[in-house]
């Protein structure tokens, strides 16, 4: 009997830090609020001073597979969201030591691994996970999150009760903690595009950083990092060693990620990374492979031509959706509800629609290519940093800035603007010692948002986001080259809290779909971190090693394509559609602006009318106006959705399957209660 379920799940729970018996009511609305992550059943465990909950999606409907799951003595319980890919090997190892298993699930491996290796157990896991263990032996709650932060874990405290959950919604639904916006947290997002852990846009909620564990007991709380991004250790690997090594790692990573006993689909963008992961997946599986793609009505964002080429080349079964401006505007509030933070871009919205397509076709797991751009140097920002740094060595050179034209041909297609583009991209190019050299232009551009804050908000902001970011950087950061620093900032901030969260976990899980990230296998990352940046990106050739691997596996047109950044139309989606204009108008309503209090209503109105009139005149919105107005729009929607008139908390309904486990008062006996 295989009880393995997939990691589309939600976790929630709480402990009484004073050893008292915690209330039993809050867990129900907490789990009900996570229904989208796990709609097929809810498991609740009540121990002496803990309550652990689990919302699950089952692949194979079996009586077992309920969580929480226990060790042999039933004094260690776990609620788990995610995947431990190497559970087969770990189980073998743990059984050899003498542990006895009662299910075939990867979840059970966690409790025994915890018994065996204590808080160091996550070092043994290869996977994507967020879990909570309650250990009755020393009344300790143990929280843990995967190395890259694929799966989320949030926590908060209400008096003597410590609460955790996969999403903030569940903490709110507990009714134990009133949610408040955090001006500092929101200001971080409007400065860095992301939060610096553990801060969130909610004043009283923290996020467990990736690669961290947290131990919560009546004696106090400790947070510890169990894995660090290997930085600065470079070896001289030959091109052949790089290619062969990476190929092996990709192959192994995919085989591990295909261990689900479910049909696996693949996201196919038409770019190098997803084409390659799909091609590898095709080779690793004998069952028909289904691919899913996004198409855009607006040709500037559309890649369907390349997607079509890959589909024909690999012979996959294929489904796609065509996204319109109307879709983007109309679903933007849904994306914010899912992401639980203001979004500076609409790009997560199409991903939300894509996961809905996946779900509607009966798929629950997709292989996807995120991470390659960060670890193998694919993004333009790395090339930009390289060019700027190269110019700084010979500041008077007239020739060196011409490289920018090769880097951003699409910005230089309007040859008229060439000189202005150069001036823009060379701003501050001599300041190579700036810790955020690579991100400087973006950070500076983003500061324009602050001009629209209200005086009261300005007064309340005490913390400088950049200083917080710098403090959070790993040891050795400042000794790295500009390009490596840029890479670390991308990985430590935008990868986990934007790409994998707002544009990843949240918008996939909103439709009960689980992404599996081939390039985020930590052994693969440890391998590629040994490779010098110049091997990954010789000159301005991004992801060279991947392209070498792709030779012979992919059509040459895909290999020779220039990096095409995934984007979606932002403010234009709102200005060009009636539905979008209505959403914008409502969000910029002066009363709403006053209620939130972050933005100055008068300034916002001035900007909005300028943007509307300019867009009507020439159909254009400037980059800076787009950024500001997107921020105001998403900030206001965020405020309204999370702090506005409250909707009654969700409850279980008559059709829900709820499984209760209660720790008995005598001899640790358990009573199994089945309701509904």
């Amino acid at each position: 009997m295989d009880l393995r379920s997939i990691g589309v799940c939600g976790i929630a729970g709480y402990v009484a830090l004073d050893g008292s018996v915690p209330p039993r009511e809050p867990i129900e609305p907490m789990l009900a609020s996570l229904r989208h992550r796990g709609p097929d059943g809810f498991g609740i465990y009540r121990g002496d001073s803990c309550v652990l909950g689990h919302a699950r999606l089952s692949i194979i409907d079996l009586e077992g597979g309920w969580q929480p799951i226990f060790n042999e003595n039933r004094d260690v319980a776990v609620t788990f969201n995610g995947e431990i890919y190497n559970y087969v090997e770990l189980r073998r190892e743990l059984e050899a030591i003498g542990h006895r298993f009662y299910t075939n699930s990867d979840t059970e491996v966690i409790v025994h691994a915890y018994e065996e290796w204590g808080k160091r157990c996550p070092e043994r896991f290869n996977g994507q996970f967020g879990f909570a263990i309650y250990d009755h032996r020393d009344k300790t709650l143990f929280l843990c999150r995967d190395r890259l932060g694929v799966r989320p874990v949030y926590y908060t405290r209400a008096g003597n009760t410590f609460l955790f959950a996969s999403e903030v919604k569940a903490l709110k639904a507990s009714g134990l903690v009133p949610l408040e916006p955090s001006v500092e947290g929101i200001h971080q997002i409007f400065s860095l595009w992301t939060n610096v852990y553990p801060r969130t846009p909610f004043a009283n909620v923290s996020e467990l950083p990736p690669a961290h564990i947290m131990v919560v007991s009546p004696r106090g709380t400790e947070t510890e990092k169990y894995w660090s991004l290997p930085i600065g250790r470079k070896e001289t690997l030959s091109p052949g060693e790089c290619i062969e090594g990476l190929k092996e790692h990709i192959d192994r990573s995919i085989r591990l990620r295909l261990r689900a006993d479910v049909p696996v689909g693949a996201y196919l963008s038409g770019g190098l990374d997803s084409s390659l992961t799909t091609a590898f997946t095709r080779r690793c599986t004998s069952t028909p492979l289904k691919t899913f793609s996004l198409e855009f009505e607006d040709p500037r964002f559309d890649e369907s031509e390349y997607q079509g080429e890959m589909v024909r080349f690999l012979g996959t079964e294929h489904s796609s959706i065509r996204v319109t401006a109307e879709d983007i505007a109309g679903h933007f509030p849904d994306a914010i509800r899912a992401a639980e933070r203001p979004l500076l871009r609409t790009a997560p919205v199409p991903m939300l629609l894509l996961s809905r397509l996946v779900r509607s076709e009966g798929y629950k797991v997709v292989i996807t290519g995120e991470g390659a751009d960060e670890f193998l140097l694919g993004y333009d920002i790395f090339k930009e940093t390289k060019v700027r740094e190269y110019c700084s060595r010979q500041p008077e050179s007239r020739l060196r800035p011409l490289l920018l034209r090769r880097l951003y041909p699409y910005l230089f297609t309007d040859g008229r603007m060439a000189k202005f583009q150069e001036t823009f991209f060379l701003k501050g190019f001599k300041e190579t010692a700036d810790p955020f050299y690579g991100h400087r232009l973006r950070f500076e551009q983003t500061k324009r948002i602050h001009d629209f804050y209200s005086p009261e908000a300005m007064f309340r902001i005490r913390e400088d986001p950049e200083s917080a970011l710098l403090r959070s950087m790993p040891p050795g950061f400042s000794d790295l080259s500009p390009i490596e620093r840029t890479q670390v900032v991308e990985i430590e901030t935008l990868l986990s809290s934007y790409l994998l969260s707002s544009q990843g976990d949240r918008v996939a899980m909103a439709n009960s779909v689980e992404g599996r990230f081939v390039f985020l296998d930590h052994e693969l990352i440890e391998f590629v971190s040994r490779i010098e940046p110049n091997r990954k990106m010789p000159g301005l050739h991004e992801k060279r090693i991947l392209k070498e691997i792709g030779r012979g596996m992919l059509p040459s047109r895909i290999l020779e394509r220039k990096k095409f950044p995934y984007r979606a139309p932002d403010m234009e989606s709102f200005l060009s559609t009636a539905r979008g204009r209505r959403i914008l108008e409502e969000a910029l309503d002066p009363v709403g602006l006053e209620t939130f209090g972050l933005f100055d209503a008068v300034k916002v109105q001035l900007l909005a009318s300028k943007v509307v009139s300019e867009a009507q005149r020439n159909g254009r919105v400037t980059t800076s106006d787009n950024l500001v107005l997107m921020s105001v729009l998403s900030g206001q929607l965020f405020h309204k959705l999370f702090f506005g008139p409250s909707v009654p908390a969700e409850r279980f309904n008559g059709r829900d399957r709820v499984h209760h486990i209660v720790k008995g008062s005598e001899k640790g006996e358990y009573e199994w209660v089945r309701t509904a």
């Binding site: 910005l411 040859g415 008229r416 603007m417 000189k419 202005f420 583009q421 001036t423 823009f424 701003k427 500076e444 551009q445 500061k447 324009r448 001009d451 629209f452 100055d600 300034k603 001035l606 900007l607 300028k610 300019e614 005149r617 020439n618 254009r620 919105v621 400037t622 980059t623 800076s624």
Partner: protein, 89 residues
């Protein structure tokens, strides 16, 4: 319009359109518009549209240079040169 008239007009336009939210009257004629982040390349296009419309001449591609459009002062000198003072208003 005298030459200060042109400067005043340009200053007002830039402050109205690109400096919403910034302290009033904070723009100096020699402020570098790109370096200070007041204009980005899309903003330059908007500015050019305004100049062409208001001062009734067309800006040649070869003239789209920071030297001509990088500050209020540069813009005014450029407009004066193009119009030979033949400015409306």
């Amino acid at each position: 319009m005298g030459s200060d008239g042109i400067r005043g007009k340009i200053r007002d336009y830039i402050q109205d359109r690109f400096m919403i939210g910034k302290p009033l009257n904070s723009l100096k004629d020699n402020d570098q518009l790109l370096e200070k982040g007041i204009l980005d390349s899309t903003g330059v296009l908007e500015l050019v549209g305004f100049i062409e419309e208001y001062f009734a001449f067309s800006v040649e591609d070869a003239e789209l240079l920071p030297d001509n459009l990088g500050s209020v002062e540069n813009i005014a000198v450029y407009i004066e040169r193009k119009t030979g003072q033949r400015v409306p208003g």
